[in-house]
Amino acid sequence: MSIQTKNGYMLIFRGTDWHNGLSPEQMQQVASQWMAWFKRLTAEGKVVAGNPLEHEGKIVSGKNGRVVADGPFAESKEAIGGYFLLKVDSLDEAVAIAQECPGLPYGARVEVRPVMDQCALSGEAQPETQLAETTA
């Protein structure tokens, strides 16, 4: 839990079915708690972006993207409902913020992921480049 990044963290809100059992009043309450949470974090400079996502979507795969499937998005535990981009310095702080998510008591889950400054591909290419230079 000591992963540090200067690039911040992405919170990915998982689960699009947890609010099914709520009454309209409860939904309104959680929605306004969520918005207040987002606004407070924005005011504190800890959130730089965030959005809910529409349920509809497509999955593109296969060579030349020839497979375009609907989905995923029957309501499910894994489906992504939205995200925040956090500007904080440590995974611990990002996790502490995730723990404040108003959806948690109802079954929402929050994935916390460090943002990288270079893609994994470049990371893979790096050591071999250095090796090549050393042997050259």
Partner: protein
């Protein structure tokens, strides 16, 4: 950033660590293809921002976030390895852009999702309220 964006599309790149199997030359080639792809979209004003994500982290769940499970998520094909925010008008264009990603050939899949500025809970609540009115009207 004063609130959620009203429009745009989010591309989520999912894959396992297929790139570990590539040769150095293949990697270099793919890196330049990816850089060129993103630079072109940025220049055209079609991509707003994008970042890779580390295959580490945590998942928080349970009341008060009491359950914390650590990543990494290395094994799974479902892991999100990065995102790209698109600034285009239609879902079709977002899908068309996703289909040109150089990584698809290697087994990456790309989830295309419209951004919204309305909380799904609000939408859900409104629908319930409408159904309630209908039920009352029918009674």
């Amino acid at each position: 950033m004063n609130g959620p964006l009203k429009s745009g599309y989010l591309l989520l790149f999912r894959s396992d660590e297929w790139y570990k199997e590539l040769s150095h030359d293949e990697l270099q080639k793919l890196i330049s293809q990816n850089n060129a792809w993103i630079e072109r979209l940025m220049t055209q004003g079609k991509a707003r921002t994008g970042q890779p994500l580390a295959r580490q982290g945590a998942v928080v769940s349970g009341k008060n976030g009491s359950r914390i499970s650590d990543g990494p998520f290395a094994e799974s094909k479902e892991v999100i390895g990065g995102y790209l925010m698109l600034d285009v008008e239609t879902f079709e264009e977002a899908v068309a852009i996703a289909r040109t990603s150089p990584n698809l050939a290697y087994g990456t899949s790309i989830e295309v999702r419209p951004l919204t500025d309305e909380c799904p809970l609000d939408a859900c609540e409104r629908q319930l309220a409408q159904e309630g009115q209908l039920a009352t009207a029918a009674a």
